[in-house]
């Protein structure tokens, strides 16, 4: 019950998608379509689950008077705020159209918070490049040099530099960076890509055949 059925489901559905790829004949198409629809709804439920779980955890924090219970309260409050506004004050199905209250929250609260969160990284990159990135061996040196070429080559400054050392137009750093991106980078990425592909195939295979069960979690 707890393991057999999930394993069977995985196997059946996995194989269906696999077979349908080679066998266009009915009913394969119908089956894969149906499973895709299920997937989409389950995925939605899973995200709901995440949200509800967040509520539960935060409530526990408040209940236990955890060190930062106050922030947990903030989380819950903001969650309820946007949910209530989204459901009752944002013209139903067109909730995300320009002008709705939901849209206002999205643009003026959600966007700046998220954007700034990521903008912080700029500062960390800067300090890391000063204090951490060392040409400590041949490999790291090559890495950093390639990085220089790309960073400078992708800006007009690069061409200005190369003109300083009398490189003719079309033979400067920017061209070098194009070469790096389109050939060296592609070659390397391709090797990585193939590795990932093979890894994915074997993992999927193990999952479908029930050799891999970690996703079910320990009993």
């Amino acid at each position: 019950m707890k393991r057999e059925i999930p394993l069977m489901l995985t196997a059946i559905i996995g194989l269906t998608f696999f077979v349908q790829f080679f066998v266009p004949h009915r009913p394969m198409g119908f089956l894969t379509d149906m499973f895709s629809d299920w997937f989409s709804i389950i995925a939605a439920a899973a995200i709901w689950l995440g949200a509800l779980n967040l509520l539960r955890v935060s409530l526990e924090k408040i209940y236990k008077k955890d060190r930062d219970w106050f922030f947990a309260a903030v989380t819950i409050a903001s969650f309820l705020l946007i949910v209530i506004i989204g459901f009752f004050f944002s013209s139903g199905r067109s909730f995300q159209e320009p002008g709705t209250k939901f849209d206002w929250l999205y643009i003026n609260i959600y966007t700046p918070l998220m954007a700034t969160m990521f903008a912080l990284l700029a500062f960390f990159v800067a300090s890391a490049s000063y204090r951490a990135f060392r040409a400590r061996n041949a490999q790291a040196t090559v890495l950093l040099l390639a990085a220089f070429v790309v960073m400078l080559g992708r800006t007009p400054f690069g061409d200005w530099l190369s003109s300083l050392v009398f490189l003719p137009k079309g033979w400067g750093i920017s061209n070098l960076s194009n070469i790096v991106m389109n050939y060296f980078n592609v070659a390397g990425q391709r090797a990585i890509m193939i590795g990932i592909a093979l890894g994915t195939v074997s993992t999927s295979l193990r999952i479908i055949l029930g050799i891999e069960r970690t996703y079910l979690g320990g009993d």
Binding site: F22, R131, I211
Partner: protein, 528 residues
Amino acid sequence: MRMKKALSYISLVAILPLLTWLVHERERPGSTIAGPYDLSSINTPGDVQGSITINWFRIPGDQPTGATATAYRLLRSTSKDGQFTEIASIDFGQPGPSQQSRQFRDTTAVLANAYFYKVISEPEGTPLESNIAGPVTSVAQSSEAGATAMLDEILFPPTQLRAFDTPNDDGRSITLEWKISPNDVPKSGQFNGYEIYRRTTSDGPFEMVGDATGGETDLERHVKIFGDGHGVKNGVAYYYYVEAKFNGQRAKSNVAGPVKAREQWFHTGRAVSLVLLGILIASILYFINQAKAGKKLFIRKIAGLEAVDEAVGRATEMGKKVFYIPGTQDMDNVQTIAGLTILARVARLTAEYETKLEVPVAKSLVMITAREVVKEAYLNVGRSDFYSDDMVYYLTDDQFGYAAGIDGLVVRQKPATIFYQGAFYAESLILAETGNSIGAIQIAGTAMPAQLPFFVAACDYTLIGEELFAASAYLSREPKLLGSLKGQDIGGKLVFLSLAIVIIIIVTVAAFSSPDMISQVTKMFEVH
């Protein structure tokens, strides 16, 4: 033994390319490749005198503007296999109705006579013949359809309409292919697309089933392709024609059909995938079984792993702590799992050397698992007395909060060695930087492409991508991991390398002898 290996490899190199060549789909089923020129002839619409207009496609060497060294010779006959006589010679390098096509108007055709046409030219000395177009008869027309003789104001119909069952599908779809009308030129304001009409019986009424924009879909074969899935039933015979629209005027193509939609049992375009994927799957399963049977599978030594012992050793010498950071992801992430097998190794060493180990985590599940892992390691070397649950503790789920937390710990406790093993995102920067600033030895391992560069630049050792998984397979000795690793090596990378080398040699030779062969060879691996 070696002999056997060598032989098997040679056979692999020899057989694989042959096999793929045999199974790969040579040409798109149903459709026919149109020859050079692709000649088509029609009775000129709207010509009161009555004349026949011949359209064909330029061949390489004939550009709209350029040298007129050679010319097309237009031949005409009254019967398909009868005597063809030259009626005109048309220079290369002249503008045509569109970039790809040329056009000639035969005014010498006798009214109501059926004619056949063909075009010959000698671009590289050898005569190149077109298909035979016709029969077509010229009919004098009442001046309604715009009696003007200006070619660019008269709409010429799409020609050579072919209809066939869409290949490799579950039926309920017919594919149409036609030569675009000469008036269908890119970005023309006047030409406004095609309408597709269909009927079910040879004499029933036609009804419109869809419309298509102008322009060619397949630039090599100069055809427009349209898939009709509009209520098509399997096994029913359909007839089609296509109508072009050009400021006010409309022109019908020939009627194609009867054609029936069918569903196929096997997707012929994917045979190569099946074969190669089959090889991969087979070898993975084979090696997993081998590993299960206790056969020893060799894995090359991984530099990062050797470093682990050394790094822990140094921490011991300095009498400082060892930090292990499993990343911000949860147990459902393969990288986290792989990382934990490395934690097991680290814990065993710290237990042996009696060095302090700390594992701050970001997910409660990871905490539970990590505790089990560390505890077991300490038990195995009989040092369970040194183990305590608070070696592994939870900081916070939040990415930056976690990073900040570790920041503080590292600065305060100044560990001698820090491990980062698992899935990392942007926080990798912050972590690696702080660790570096206190001069700790850092060993990282992740498969996150965007974070690897930072780890390589800021850490002393980095397990790059697959190395992380290889390392965990090597350490855990789990058959399923070892087997898959080996299977991927043999059934995947080895196959890739051997195929690549053989075929690269072939195409390189081809590049100097017969360039057009290259695409034919590489086409084997085209995905459908």
